[in-house]
Amino acid sequence: MHELSITQNMLDLVLEQAKNAGAKEVGKINLVLGEMTGVVDRAVQFYFDFLSKGTAAEGATLSFKVIPTTARCRNCAKDFELGEFDWTCPHCKGNNIEIVGGKELFVESIEVE
């Protein structure tokens, strides 16, 4: 349930950006969520509906772009999605890997009026 504080942080960020742009209303918020963060989009939506009441972002549509957890093999330099119970490289069977995707948690853009 880290989504409560994460959603509050997200909303603060969005409202600040909207205010800076002189916008009256936020229509859409485009979010990028890495799978590895464990942030659940439905929970973000739930908290957002509650927290945004009475703000310029009330009623805004949330759009989630989910980034899968992606690893890069340090041996053969190929990328692959992390397996559920196996973190070896499917190409060379090496197990020295680097996480290159899945930790994202940011607001990409907002649509305002």
């Binding site: 880290h2 409560l4 504080s5 969005v14 742009a21 890997i97 940011f106 907002i110 649509e111 305002v112």
Partner: protein, 215 residues
């Protein structure tokens, strides 16, 4: 009108963590964020660490729990300064809660600050507190498959303490395979197998920690 933002949602927390960091640096405090699932042995590990560091390093403790001050009471019996944070439902500590707790600690008289996070393997991994090290305690009864289930936590940890190794004869837990899995995605990690009950391996961990504190 579309506005490009591309800003990290954790940015606000990270800014406060940076302020905490400056305060720690100013007071020359080495800070360890202790994370684990409930029951893995965070408080036991902190108690065993304090006992072995007595007279060697001045320790302070921040205790994070959803509710109760049981852990803080156990630690205050060891004669070290301790502050309890009750998060009131939040499943992790954040930089702001930590900052508030720091006001109640004699930072100038602390060389090592141990922050016990809320028992949870998901959320604390997201929130920087301004610490030097993130320590994860993973206990053997939890099973050796935990890295696959909580990859972020194992990816972020600087040190993994494998606690309750005295129970290994009764469990299917492969310490070598477990260490290999973590080191595969986290090359910087140090792994120390130990038991807070028998004391096995605890000295090695504490000696290593002492080396880090004295830098």
């Amino acid at each position: 009108m579309e506005i490009k933002v591309v800003k990290d949602i954790m940015g606000a927390n990270d800014q406060i963590a940076q302020k905490n960091r400056q305060l720690f640096d100013k007071n020359k405090v080495f800070v360890v964020n202790v994370m684990a699932s409930p029951g893995a042995g965070k408080t036991s590990l902190i108690l065993e660490t304090i006992k072995r560091l007595k007279g060697r390093v001045k320790v302070g403790v921040v205790e994070g729990d959803i509710s109760s001050s049981l852990d803080a009471e156990a630690i205050s019996k060891e004669g070290v300064p301790v502050v309890q944070i009750n998060t009131g439902g939040e499943c992790h500590l954040d930089a702001s809660m930590t900052s508030t707790a720091l006001d109640s600690l004699p930072l100038g008289d602390i060389e090592l600050l141990l922050i016990e996070n809320v028992g949870n393997l998901v959320c604390p991994a997201e929130f920087n507190l301004g610490e030097d090290w993130k320590i994860l305690i993973s206990s053997t009864p939890e099973g050796d498959d935990k890295p696959f289930k909580y990859p972020l936590m194992f990816h972020e940890a600087d040190v993994v303490l494998v606690n309750k190794i005295d129970l290994l004869p009764y469990l299917k837990f492969d310490v070598d395979a477990f260490s290999k899995t973590i080191k595969g995605i986290n090359q910087k990690v140090k792994v120390f197998p130990l038991s807070c009950t028998t004391g096995e391996g605890v000295d090695q961990w504490v000696d290593w920690l002492l080396g880090q504190v004295r830098g």
